[in-house]
Structures are given as C-alpha cells and as structure tokens.
Symmetry: C2
Subunit: 123 residues, 2 copies
DNA sequence: TATTTTATGCAACTTAGTCGCAAAGGAGAT
DNA sequence: ATCTCCTTTGCGACTAAGTTGCATAAAATA
C-alpha cells in the first residue's frame, strides 16, 4: 500500500510527505466519498484542518482527487477515476455513486451531482 | 405581474405577504438562478437576511422554488419548472442551464449540477 | 376591539473552510 | 555533519453564508 501511494504521488508530481500519505491512505481504502471529519477519524495520527485542506487542494489541482459538495455543505473527496455521478438523498443524506452518460455537453465535465429523494426513502 | 404572483402563492397554499412578493417578483423576472445578494439587489425594498432565507425555505418545501449550490458556496434559487441541469464553470463561475436526460435513475431527481470547464474557458 | 397566530427585523451565533505566521522537516551545497 | 534555503505543518485567528432566538409588528380570528 505504502508503495502504491508513493507511486501515486510520483505519477502526479507531488512530493511524498507523511501528511499526504495519511490522507491518500484513507482515500484509497474508501469505498465512498468522504468529508474532512470522516477522513480525520480514519487516520492513524491527528492532522490539522489547514494541512488537510491545503493538501487536498494540491491533490485536486493535480487532478488526483476530485471533490463535490454534499447535502450538508461539506466537501466530499474521492480519488479520481472514471467520471461518475453522485446521487445525494435530501432525506437520508446518503451518497450513491452511479454511472451515467448524456453524450457530450458544454465543455469538460468534472463532477455530476444529482439531488433528490432516493428509492429507499420514497417507499 | 402582481396577480400572477398572488396566484402562484395561492397555488402552493402560501400566504401572500410583501416580503414574499418581493422575492417572487425578482425570481419571476430572472432568466438565471440567483443567490441572496443578487436577489436583494434587484429588490425594490430592503429585506433582512433571515426573512429572506425563511421564506425561501418555505417556498422550497412547498416545491415552488428550487435551489442548488454554486461554485462559490452560495445557494442559487429559481422558480421550479421543467427539471433541467446546471453546468457550473469552475473557471469563469458562470451557470449555464441545459436540458439533459439520462432515463430514470435512483429515485426522484430534484436537481442536477454539473461542474467543469465550459467551452468558452476551454478555448 | 381584544386575542391569538404568524411574519418580520435585529443581533448574536454557528461552523466549514481559509489565511498569516512561526516552527519543523527535508534536500542540496560546503 | 553542518549550514542554508525552501517547503510543509500546526496553531490560532479569521471569514462569511446561512441560522436561530427573541422582541416587535402585522394579520387573522373571534
């Protein structure tokens, strides 16, 4: 895992540091987009908010990480991969990843967020 | 116009007040989703933040108004209509309304926000 | 008109995220 | 190894959109 993360940093031309390692470690293990608090909880060692956000901004600029805003006004982060949509339920606040395609549209799409009421909450 | 807005309130079972009239007047004239500041500027008389947000929340619950978050962490509001997507350019921050369809998906979709770089900024 | 309910305005508050700055850590030169 | 320079980290103060409590004003009801 350690090596994979180093490789990831290398690929995106980002210097490897312990703080960055901690963040990427959590994101790599994650099966869902996560916000700062959630990531912090999963980290082995504490990390300052400022450090976290600065590094996340770096990852994002490099295109390594992708973010979007949840229903709770918090940023959610995930490692970049195949572009997919996130459905956010306004009732249970769950985030559901889903594949979606609507041909080519206005420019380059980086994030797709749908909000509404999920199937589970509807019934 | 006055009558149209009264009718709108009536339709959604919302009591007609001057504050509500001011907000709806601006939204009805708008050709774009607008945030609190923008709406406030366009209003004839001043209105308190709290009053604005409370009424907007009311409209939203009733399904009369629809909101989403822009690239600047501000809420943007518009009168409900045909469900459409908003493309937000991360560079010029413009909001572009667009029709989009991707069949039926997870539950009931209320808002669709795409982020990325618009055509104008790409070239 | 009196009473109750609802809407408004003000001010204080909340909180995710940001910024300035000083200290710690690392890479390269001597 | 030590010195220097540059980057990264952590702390604390700050920002600002939106929220909440409470007192007043307006409207509905009796």
């Amino acid at each position: 895992m350690n090596e994979q993360i180093k490789a990831l940093c290398c690929e995106y031309d980002i210097k490897f540091t312990t703080a960055r390692f901690s963040i990427l470690m959590v994101l790599k293990k994650a099966s869902q987009p996560m916000n700062y608090e959630q990531i912090k909880e999963k980290m082995d060692s504490a990390m300052d908010k400022a450090t976290f956000y600065r590094n996340i901004a770096l990852f994002e600029e490099a295109g390594m990480v992708h973010k979007f805003e949840g229903d709770d006004r918090k940023w959610y982060f995930e490692l970049s991969g195949k572009t997919h949509a996130h459905f956010i339920c306004e009732q249970c606040h769950r985030i559901i990843c889903m594949d979606v395609d609507f041909g080519e549209v206005e420019g380059e799409v980086k994030s797709i967020v749908l909000k509404g009421i999920c199937k589970a909450c509807q019934s």
